[in-house]
Amino acid sequence: MNTMDTAIATHPFTRGINPRYLHLLTKGATYERFGADQPIFQETFDADRFYLIHSGHVALHTFIPGRGVTTIETLGGGDALGWSWMFAPYRWHFSATAADPTEAVALCARTLRDEMEENRDFGYWMAMRVSGVLLERLQMIRVRMLEMYDPPE
C-alpha cells in the first residue's frame, strides 16, 4: 500500500469500515500537501472534495460582517473536513486554510455520491459515519456556547 492508501485505511473516519469499501474511497482520491497559510477551499465554491486530515492543522473560517474573517474551529490530524459535498447545492459553507504544513487525503465527492447511491450498504455506512462525526462536532459547538454562560458568584 502506498502513503495515500495507508492514510485512508488508518484514519479514524474509516475505523471499522468493511475492507471491501476501502477501494470505493480511494477511487479518484489524491494525497495533498498544503503549506502554512495555503487556502484549501473557499466558501461558496463547489464542494468537490472530502478531506481526511493526516497531519497539521486546518483553520475553518468565515467572514462575519463587522468582525471580519473569523476562525470558527481548528481541525487536525485524524479529523475529517468538509460536509457540503454530501448535500445539494454542494457548495462550501465556510473556508478552510492550512494553519501550518498540512497533509490530507482528498476524496472525490462525485465518486463518493455515485457510489453511495449505487451501493446502499456503503451508502448507509457512510451516512452513519458522517452523522456520527457531525453529531460530535455539534456537541462540541454546543459546549462552547454553554461555556459562554457564566454562573453568578
Partner: protein, 160 residues
C-alpha cells in the same frame, strides 16, 4: 400505535421517501401531543425517540452550575432526538414543550433494527439525519461566532 398511512407530506423530514420506506416508518410512528411544560425526555435517560415536530416548540436545555440553560428551540418542520443513533444511547440534554406541541414520534429501538435489516432504508434515513445535523451545526456555529460580548474586547485591564 402506528400510522399506517404515513405520507411524505406530513413532515419535511419525510420528503422524497418511497412508499415502502414510508410504510416501514409508519409502523413505529405515534402521533403525540404535548401540553406547555410537558417534559419529553431528561438528560441521562435512555434515548428512545425520534421526534418530528409539526406544531408548537420544543425547548432543549441543560444545566450549568445548577441553572437551566437553553441549548436550542425546535419548531415546526424540525426534528429532535439524535442520541438514539449512536452509543451510549442516552439523552445529552432535557427536552420539554414550550407551548402545545404536536409531533410524530418514532420508536428508536425499532428504527435501529429496521436500518440494519434494510440498508437501503437505513441509507435514506441516515442521509436525512446527516443533512439536518449539518444545518444545525451551521446555525450553531454562526450563533457561537456572533455571540461574543463586545465589551469583553473593548474593556481595558485595570491595575498595573
Amino acid at each position: 400505535m402506528s400510522i399506517p398511512n404515513l405520507t411524505a407530506a406530513q413532515h419535511p423530514f419525510l420528503n422524497g421517501l418511497s412508499e415502502p420506506h414510508l410504510r416501514i416508518l409508519g409502523k413505529t410512528a405515534t402521533p403525540k401531543r404535548f401540553a406547555a411544560g410537558d417534559r419529553l425526555f431528561r438528560e441521562g435517560e435512555a434515548a428512545n425517540g425520534l421526534y418530528l415536530v409539526n406544531t408548537g416548540n420544543i425547548c432543549l436545555q441543560t444545566r450549568s452550575a445548577g441553572q437551566p440553560v437553553r441549548i436550542a428551540t425546535i419548531g415546526p418542520g424540525e426534528v429532535v432526538g439524535w442520541s438514539w443513533l449512536f452509543p451510549p444511547f442516552f439523552w445529552h440534554f432535557d427536552a420539554s414543550a414550550d407551548e402545545t406541541t404536536e409531533a410524530i414520534v418514532f420508536d428508536a429501538a425499532q428504527l435501529r433494527k429496521d436500518c440494519e435489516e434494510d440498508k437501503a432504508f437505513g441509507y435514506e434515513l441516515m442521509k436525512r439525519v446527516a443533512e439536518i445535523v449539518v444545518s444545525r451545526l451551521q446555525v450553531t456555529r454562526l450563533k457561537l461566532v456572533q455571540s461574543v460580548k463586545h465589551d469583553l474586547a473593548a474593556a481595558l485591564p485595570k491595575g498595573e
